[in-house]
Amino acid sequence: MTRMRPNRPRGRATRRAAASWLAVAFGTLLSITSASALEFRCIEPSRYRNLLSVFNDDPNLFFSHLGLPRGRLPDLNTCRALLITGTLATGDSDALLDRIIAAKGWLAVLYLSLEGANIEEEARIASIVREFSLKTRAVRQSLYRYQPDFARLWEPPIALTGTSAAAPPARDDISPLHRGLQAYAVRRDLALPLDANHSTCNDGCRPIWFAGVNRLYNAAPAGAPAPSDVADPVNARLRVALTYFIDLNRLPAADDPVLSKPLGWTSATPPATARMLRDKCNPEFAVAESLETRFGEAFETAARSNLRPREVQALTTPFEALSRSGARLQQCLAAALEGERLASFGRQCAPACDRQALSERFAGAARDILGRAGQP
């Protein structure tokens, strides 16, 4: 009886092939473990070629609204906003750096719908977000529409004529962007492609959201349980310390009660950004506040006359003045944030972006913060 021997690779060539297969497999394994697990997707309507319509396709309006000197437009294929989904893993901070560098400073907003926890990576990404002055949007439920971050559609003031009087034509000159925003708002691709089962910004997502220079979120569904880090109290404490450091550039005292509180969803603006905005838009703030007072006085006069139709109609003028000043204030704030972001990019990347150096710097900063925050 002849015993069948299994086929075995024979010869030097075969051995070499097997060795290279193993190397490829090992390499693949390595690359899997170190690969970015987050997915960065461009939000299509945020490509500058799409956003131009908000500015009535007028480059002058683009530069003037954003308070920028006339120059080259950004590459029109660049995305102003990214949607980040998936699960946090080592290497994600470098992937984000790559995106920021590729956008040459024109990436402004991150929509965060990511899961998982990796405290060191969270700290790195949070540092990157703050140092590049990015805005953050936390996805807390699966319906979220992309909204340009630099302008708001002010509907024309409603005619305050009496019910039986002819209404004057609606004013659409509260902001020069009115028509552009109106046209943009009817786009059909503004809803973010979110997975209803994986869309809540929680755990490791929270400090990244907190690092934004303007942080917003969509409302959580009614009755949804409040996110909590109770399952991982050590990381919860570290995250609070991390966000505290990012906002105030110092760590809380070890017995600071803030460390035992869960991360909140409040405060849209970090203190330093608020100071910068208040400083840069001081005249616009003064005028808007004064016009709100003026409206209040005009209203009290009308109320003393029992809000008779003629008195109510007379409120149209102070209303329009207040609306215009509000739109001007918002334009100034948008321009200030834009300038700050571009300046941040310039600071990080002057004279050119050295990705390796940046990566090491942010890794070092993250280790330093976490090291100090982790000490009792």
Binding site: I158, L277, R278, L307, P309, V312
Partner: protein
């Protein structure tokens, strides 16, 4: 000339007869509008309800009657009995039906006129249906919900608004409403021939989508079997009639110009003025305030607060004066709306008494609305 208008009318009726689709409007009671539920706002006391609307306490609605109806689905030809459905509903509710909530993409213009004149004859209010998701969202027509308690303010205390003592009752009513089954709404708007009914409301709320009239062909948008001259002449006459109708209902110049300038293959949204002008003048004089204007002022105040306080830009101004103004407007408006509601209540009950004196019959009501259409056609000359 008279013969011409009679021809138009016969064309409208013939147009109605052409339809043979099975679908038709549905007229159904909005459960949350049953008087037994609405009494909850007044602590379950019908006399307080009567006092609020200044009606005789000995003439109160049966608790099972409906104050509001949902009118949904396509408006169809006479054999679909759309008009009968509304007539029966009005008669069954014995004058206590006050509002129609419209959820229809339109249909037969001829039936639309009949339904519309029926609505106006019985002094009904019309709303484009409001929804929350795809379910009907109902708000009583006579009551402005109270605002949450305000923080302490300085200055003289204003006279209490009529709804201020009803905050608890309002919460009780909301709790009842929450327990009622959801009413799904298939078409969330009011377009085309539905606009005729909307325009007939004595108080009108919500947006209507309008377009010019057309002859529709078999499976085509426009009937190309007719000659161009016949199409032009026929539709010009039809438009004159419709414009005369909108004038009679006093929908406002914007409404008419939007209707005339919108091609038939599309629709344009338009706001109908809340009241006919002379009704507005009357109510302003009677109530010492313009409730519609105060409503717009309140809406504008909240819109401005929302705009100014947008967190999109990181910082915003305080809008305390605007908030205070909004509260003051709400107080004034509550009183004005109560006065307006009471005036409408009396007028509607007397309209029912007048139309149904000596008993309401289908034939009598049919004759009444047909007379109104004939008068309209004569007037359009």
């Amino acid at each position: 000339m008279r013969r011409t208008w009679l021809t138009i009318l016969s064309v409208i009726v013939a147009g109605c007869l052409l339809a043979n689709r099975a679908a038709a409007i549905e007229v159904s009671c909005i459960e949350a509008s049953k008087y037994r539920h609405l009494y909850q706002i007044f602590g379950g006391d019908p006399r307080k309800f009567a006092a609020y609307l200044q009606i005789e306490p000995d003439r109160l609605p049966d608790p099972e009657l409906c104050r509001a109806a949902l009118v949904s689905g396509p408006i169809e030809a006479p054999e679909a009995h759309d008009v009968d459905k509304l007539m029966n509903f009005i008669m069954a509710n014995r004058g206590w039906l006050a509002t129609l909530h419209l959820a229809s993409g339109g249909g037969r213009v001829g039936t639309g006129y009949l339904l519309a004149f029926l609505a106006r004859s019985f002094w009904l209010k019309t709303y484009t249906v409001s929804t929350s998701g795809n379910a009907l969202f109902y708000m009583p027509d006579f009551f402005v919900p109270p605002l949450p308690a305000a923080s302490a303010t300085t200055g003289p205390t204003p006279a209490p608004a009529p709804e201020s003592g009803l905050a608890q009752g309002w919460q009780a009513y909301l709790a009842v409403q929450k327990g009622l089954p959801r009413v799904p709404v298939a078409y969330r708007g009011c377009a085309s021939a539905c606009g005729l009914i909307h325009a007939a409301g004595i108080e009108r709320f919500g947006v209507v989508r309008v377009h010019r009239t057309r002859y529709s062909g078999q499976g085509t948008l426009i009937d190309l079997s007719k000659s161009m001259s016949a199409t032009n002449e026929g539709l010009m006459r039809s438009e004159e009639l419709q414009v005369a109708y909108y004038r009679q209902m006093d929908t406002g110049p914007d409404f008419i110009s939007t209707y005339q300038s919108t091609p038939p293959e599309t629709t344009t949204p338009v706001n109908v003025s809340r009241y006919p002008r002379y009704v507005a003048d009357y109510l302003n004089a009677r109530c010492g305030a313009d409730a519609g204007q105060l409503q717009r002022l309140e809406r504008q105040l909240y819109a401005t607060i929302a705009n100014l306080n947008s967190p999109l830009f990181g910082l915003w101004i305080k809008a305390d004066r605007l908030r205070k103004a909004a509260r003051t407007v709400r107080e004034h408006r509550s009183k004005a709306e109560q006065c307006v509601a009471a005036a409408h209540e009396r007028e509607r009950l007397s309209a029912f008494d007048k139309a149904c004196a000596g008993g309401c019959t289908r034939q009598k009501l049919q004759a009444m609305v047909e007379t109104k259409i004939r008068d309209l056609a004569k007037g359009a000359r």
